[in-house]
Symmetry: D2
Subunit: 313 residues, 4 copies
């Protein structure tokens, strides 16, 4: 298979350079490919409204430890109705929730500071900008005002007529273009690319698995597809899984997609979405484009945020 | 002042009954006033798009203990670039974030289970539905697919030409209607009511204060305004502060607005938004209505969620 | 085997009554069997000093999720030497540690409020004394000033000449007395009873297992041994495992040892100690009695505390 | 006052060198001054037993944010008796506790990795040994088997006949020797030095205060007293406060005592003990020496541990 052609370290370095946006919008700029998502593009997204349905693309937060959830969140009630406030009515209940922001089974968005390639962050910033006190730049508040635009779902299992892609499989640009044709859509400037491998469906049907290098791996994109995303000026990447094929086919680069998208291109990327509810609505409405809203928590010095991405039809 | 007329417990009980939606949409229904926010209303919201600007209405998450933040969040880096993954490039940094979900200075949304009045939740459900293991019903996942609609900002300090309302002040329906006229808007069926007292501006200029019963209090709504919201079929309430006047003018009811909105009406309510960035854009665009998207975390058995409410123009 | 004789609910109720210390030291008393550990007994313990060696009986805190660790602790560095304090030298590093206090693989001590039998705590106190705001009585600060006394290790695998007891095995009083003889010791008034089944050695050699009712279970004591502990006036119970045989042989009572020791007797009980280092020293010194010091954290309203129990020879 | 003589950076560097134990017990040794606490010394401690009383020297854990507690612990019930286990009787309640390990009002012990002076840890180890993944050496498990020895309380407010020392006051060796005489004790080889300034009594009577450089400061030791501790071969330091005088009298060194004790001498040091209960017992028993047991949590890669230090008479 083409997608299993090994890519050498040298070839990867060249690819990194080709898709790099370093300096494109200025030396201290932090929005990266969101610069493509202009208000013109945003207004185009709103023209997609018809039914007014909205649907979540988040996995319900999973508090059970497992092979893809080694550090499950902490979630406790801190007050129930068993005590009565001395202030009188009404009464209130409260909870506490704590979590690692990233991980392999929680829907979240990455800040650009989250990834470094060979000692450099996006736009050539040094890794020393992130200390034990958090990032000095490119934290998640870059996205504080939300990300709103047109989403295009390319559903590869639908194209292949399978339930899901198997771990280790890598999708090429040919296949992305075939999905575009099958769905009658085209990824364009300022778009959000929703990439479905069926990762979450596999998880629902077979149970969670270790999708890392010490486990079974995961399905994702061939690194060369970044050329297509770069040419098309895609703004945002929203995969189930996280876009990576594990193991990767790049020599010495375990997670080439993150390196290219985040460190080279400065792309706004989320991980571990689920499209099971969305995919049904796409079939019902027979369209694979819609408005998408991302509203990460406004957390200063955050390297990312749990996320509930919303699609609106 | 009318707004300082004391309301007796009996009068409040009658008001509670008048605005109650218990049983209106079925005995086990959990969406409450969101039933007003139909797809027709949602489409109307999208017709407001012009400039394509989006703006956050969240307070940046505040990690510093203070008079309105007695239990500040826990936020730590859990991995920085000082260690190198044995898997090779790229490298990643991670953080951990834990927080109480409610509180007096964090922008959040309440689940309907959060408030009980005299032993009953919205729709007459018993408080025993919430245990130390969390709520059995009306948790935050009721809002999992997001809340999207038309937002109308009624800016009371703008109307009064003051920087902010002082703690203890209560806004009446007369004043809400005056704000509508001044802004050329009208709160209607399925709308989101954004209510500005200038709470956050006061906080920015004077510093945080204890806005509870053992402190200086806060500005909010007169409980009788709930009759107006009920008649107008408002779907969502989004205040700076939390809508409450502290101290309240209701005998024996410390937080009458929460009791009425959440326990009686089943209204989707957020607390502690900030409208400082929004208000500027409203002036620039000279309109006080816009699309709003709320995307609470999809947290099973959550009593609420931190929130980044987004307005889109 | 005698230890597999089923005990009926009625027989258990009688046993509960026989070993009950309710009211023995007063109606609101919270020290239970620690009343046996008088200063006379404590001085006797100190006479055991010879070599001056001290040894931990705690399992190193385990941060890896697993079958007996479903909610692993949260442990993060919150400051490293990558930032420099503006105050100048010296520099400091800090960490954060959060954990559930109980569980099946962390060495901890139970407060008496931790266990209720049929709606009653030790000394007949109602379960309503523990709310979502914590216990109103019998919290871990009862043991704030430490527990110091004579420890006697009864090492059952040593007696049986096996590596460990298998899950489901229950040790009877005959066997405890045989261990006493083999070691030349006798459990007496005010003593701390260290009970070794080899649980931790099994864990070290075979790996962690689910030792609950939905797993393989664990080895422990036959409930009738409580008669012996009651007669002997034992003050403290320190097991590897937690003293329970899972599954239990008592009809309708899943954890009879906790019910008897804590709810009936008011005994200070810890769980999940490890005696691997201790057992070697006992062999070297050829004695199975020594001084023991327990110093639980002084946590108001705590239901227990992680613990590092220290034996001193 | 002598104790307010300024010490230059050069004088401090010489003092650091004089009291340094680097290399004294080997190049990779981690026990530092605990090497003085031999079993001979330990046995001597046990000869102090008379009354058999034990007493805590820990401050009850404080969950309320305040000027010396900016990041209060997280402490929640995670299960109460409002739910019934399907396994049947007995029932259990549980809590969760999370905390920063150090800080200015929680009784805790420092690991040697906690302090670096000019880029070097005790024994000349590099600060790079501590990363975001924790310390590679000199973590708190160095003290896993507990620290047991003779404690000597030098009570300076008692000597001066005052309630407490005021912030900024520094105690000299003359005064320590005067306290020894007044109490009829002498700090010697392998001893634990309990140093009372009355810090906690002041806190109880006047309320908490900011005891750091941006606040009122605290009372402590003059840095030259380290010469005396070094000559006397003291093993352990247990202060109320943390031994530091804030502001310090050393040019460019904000916390000279930590630099000297931990980085130079490798001394086992705890912070923020309270001696209010202990001091009463000392008066009653008319002796200021007793056995002390420290049992830090056995936390791999911990930079310290909350602690409940126990004195036994």
């Amino acid at each position: 298979m083409k997608n299993k052609n090994r890519m050498s370290g040298q070839e990867f370095a060249e690819l990194f350079k080709k898709v790099s946006n370093w300096g494109r919008w200025g030396p201290n700029e932090e929005r990266g490919t969101l610069n493509y998502l202009t208000s013109v593009r945003l207004r185009a997204a709103t023209e997609l409204f018809r039914s007014g349905r909205s649907v979540s693309m988040a996995i319900p937060i999973n508090e059970v430890a497992g092979p893809d959830n080694p550090h499950p969140p902490v979630h406790h009630m801190i007050r129930t109705y068993d005590v009565h406030s001395k202030l009188g009515e009404p009464q209130f209940v409260l909870d506490y929730f704590g979590t690692e922001v990233h991980g392999d089974c929680h829907t979240h968005i990455d800040a650009l500071c989250h990834v470094a390639y060979k000692g450099e962050l996006y736009n050539g910033k040094p890794t020393s900008a992130v200390t034990s006190q958090g990032p000095d730049l490119m934290d998640i508040t870059t996205y504080a005002h939300g990300i709103v635009g047109r989403g295009v779902l390319l559903d590869i299992p639908r194209l292949r007529d399978v339930k899901w892609l198997e771990p280790g499989e890598a999708v090429t640009d040919d296949e992305l273009e075939a999905a575009e044709k099958a769905e009658g859509v085209r990824l364009g400037e300022g778009d959000m690319f929703l990439f479905r491998t069926g990762h979450h469906r596999r998880r629902l049907e077979l149970g969670p698995w270790n999708n890392g290098y010490d486990g079974e791996g995961r399905a994702g994109l061939d690194p060369n597809t970044m050329l297509m995303l770069h040419e098309r000026k895609v703004a945002v990447f929203l995969p189930d899984g996280d876009g990576e094929t594990v193991p990767s086919n790049v020599e010495g680069v375990a997670y080439p997609i993150h390196a290219l998208q985040i460190a080279a291109m400065g792309m706004a990327c989320a991980d571990n979405l689920q499209f099971e509810e969305l995919a049904k609505i796409c079939e019902e409405e027979h369209r694979w484009e819609f408005m998408v809203v991302l509203a990460p928590l406004r957390l200063p010095r955050g390297t990312g945020s749990l996320l509930n991405p919303i699609a609106i039809f």
